[in-house]
């Protein structure tokens, strides 16, 4: 086998990692290199995207695999054992060097390291941990580190990973348990959720003071996340959101990522290449947001979804409003925060500003426009000091009129 140089390895092992959607560098504990010996800081805020690739996705981290050799045969994955992609493996030192040299040039906030499964789950996890440990202990690297946790590896290795990493993730990938035997025969959801449970328990413990008042060592300060593939198995949006809702509740996840199943260069006969369902993915993120920041229950979002699939024409908040007209119009001068958050087109930030403004003056329709940018979608659903929607709220064709992009009415042909 030809010996690959570092550039060739980088090309192979970053291409192999790009189907993982997560690239967040946010919500790590704030720290800097000022009191250290090496480089690195975490802002503690929203994170920084250092570049955007032409697919519109954020590049915050050096997202690579330690190796794309893999024993598993998950049919959706470009790195499955039966794929013919070129294979490569970094040494620990190579990953460390890439991370530090990218970091010093301000290309990245840190490292997101994952790996194919080689030899065993434990061996693979040990190798991942070794990279993070070297960065932290040998180089005093204070930047962001996201490590993949290999399901089925021992709890001691998870414990070690959490000491070095800001974030840990185990990808569930498949929304439904019954899809595993066909699509990911070496995996099962029990191992995956067990690993999440292990991480969750350690995060909870690390946030409590002990009886003596001491703080336990930090553990995965930016929490854990996971990813689900959208459109590879037969799962409906309702299935996907049910899985997400359960994971948020049971394991305190920070984020669930939804990744539209994307054509890969070397696809399996079981799962041929198709164009990725990007709008569906977008609607799932919107629904996820409604559950986490807008006080929506999952059942409310999926109650009116035909066959458990979200409306692709309307965003899920507007779809809910159209299906629940009796809850509107909402008087923006008197309604509580919870009700304001239900108004289509009004985001969390605008609601919070609205609450401050209305203490000082009566809110008009123009005011609402200045707060939210546009009142077009909002008008049928709100009462302001100078506007009442009257019968508009209940118009039958309201959904059609508010569809985005606006669908031009089709002229009936006479012939």
């Amino acid at each position: 086998m030809a010996v690959l140089n570092l550039k060739q390895k980088l090309a192979i092992l970053s291409d192999a990692a790009k189907y993982d959607a997560s690239c967040a560098s946010s919500s790590g504990a704030k720290r800097s290199s000022r009191d250290g010996a090496g480089v690195g800081a975490v802002t503690g805020g929203m994170g920084v995207c250092h570049a955007y690739t032409p697919d519109g996705r954020c590049v915050a981290l050096l997202k690579i695999l330690l190796t794309n050799f893999c024993l598993f045969d998950c049919v959706y994955c470009i790195n499955r054992v039966s794929s013919n992609v070129p294979r490569a493996r970094f040494t620990v030192e190579e990953v460390v060097r890439l991370t530090l040299d990218f970091y010093k040039r301000n290309y990245i906030e840190g490292l997101f390291l994952s790996s194919g499964i080689i030899k065993s789950a434990d061996y693979t996890q040990e190798q991942l941990n070794l990279v993070a440990k070297t960065l932290r202990q040998v180089h005093d690297f204070r930047g962001y580190v996201h490590l993949k946790l290999v399901a089925g590896s021992s709890p001691e290795l998870a414990a070690e990973a959490g000491l070095y990493a800001d974030r840990l993730s185990v990808n569930i990938e498949l929304p439904r348990d019954d899809a595993f035997p066909r699509l990911a025969p070496e995996k099962n959801s029990a191992d995956i959720t067990a690993a999440m449970g292990e991480v969750h328990a350690r995060i909870v413990v690390s946030r409590d003071r002990t009886l003596t008042g001491k703080r336990p060592p930090k553990f995965a300060g930016a929490g854990q996340s996971t990813q689900m593939i959208v459109g590879a198995d037969g799962a409906s949006d309702a299935d996907i959101l049910a899985r997400a809702d359960g994971l948020y509740g049971d394991y305190g996840l920070r984020r669930v990522y939804y990744s539209a199943f994307s054509p890969i260069p070397d696809s399996s006969a079981i799962l041929p290449s198709r164009r990725p369902p990007l709008m569906r993915e977008h609607r799932l993120y919107q629904a996820d947001w409604l559950m986490r920041f807008y006080g929506f229950e999952r059942d409310e979002i999926t109650a009116d979804a035909a066959d458990g699939m979200l409306d692709l024409t309307h965003d899920p908040k507007l779809a809910w409003a159209l299906a629940n007209r009796a809850a509107f119009p909402v008087d923006v001068n008197t309604a509580d925060r919870e009700r304001l958050l239900r108004i289509p087109g009004l985001g969390v930030k605008s609601v919070d500003r609205l609450l401050r403004v209305r203490r000082l003056k009566a809110v008009t329709l123009d005011d609402l426009g200045r707060l939210a940018g546009s009142i077009k979608r909002m008008k049928p659903f709100v009462i302001t000091s100078d506007w009442r929607p009257g019968g508009l709220t209940d118009q039958v064709d309201l959904g059609l009129r508010l569809a985005a992009p606006i669908i031009a009415p089709v002229q009936m042909s006479l012939f």
């Binding site: 800097s32 480089v39 519109g56 499955r80 010093k104 301000n106 006969a269 403004v357 200045r370």
Partner: protein, 270 residues
Amino acid sequence: MYAVELAHETDWEGWRAGARALRLAEIPPDQVTWQVGPALGLFEGAAPPKPPVGAGFPAPPGLFDLAQEVILNRDPMRFDLLYRLLWRARETPRLVEIFTDPDVRRAEILRRQVREAVHKMHAFVRFRRIDAADAPETYLAWFEPPHRVLARGVGFFVDRMANLRFSILTPDACAHWNGENLRLTPGVEAPPDRAEDEWEDYWRIYFASVFNPARLNPDVMTQHMPRRYWRNLPEAEVIEGLVTSAQGRTDAMVRAGPSRPSARARRRTV
């Protein structure tokens, strides 16, 4: 008419002293001009009267925080806008919370542009390593921010690189960190001649490899990474090629259909 002379484009202390004196003297905004440096003829006016010793008024909550950010914007009317807010706060002390007010909204927009510029500077500064052999590790960047945000945002880089040396040069100001202290110097007009940095090749390889052609969406890319930044981004030179080849690469993947399992997998299943 009155005129306040400010020492430089982001002279916060000068604006504050001038605005304070004007307001104590009850001089409305429409009788004031703000100028950076000595007046060059046209709009000469009297300096605002010195306020009596001990005179003062409570600072409207939130206004000075807002002003310190807005003043970094390149909008030529920013000083006038800020004094108008201070003036109107006599009647409405909590004016800056009325986000629906046109003046407040304008100031909030300018503030958002400044914050965006700080954030994008943190994102898009690209360092090159420039030290000679045996010299301490040193990095240099040239950057052109849309607003005058270098001094406000440079702490981010010190936090990251406190144990290295670096300089960031911009047309407005330059910042230099020597491992212990930060020094600000006047801006420079043109980017310095710098040798290539071999790591830029690695970065372009990475940037091209993490791009997924099946998800091509250049509008979202340019929305977050506006073209005005591209000329100082080493990765920008590969964007066009990635965009134009994306459709063909995706079609090929969809058309190709499934492949024969690898030899490795066939061995395994025997």
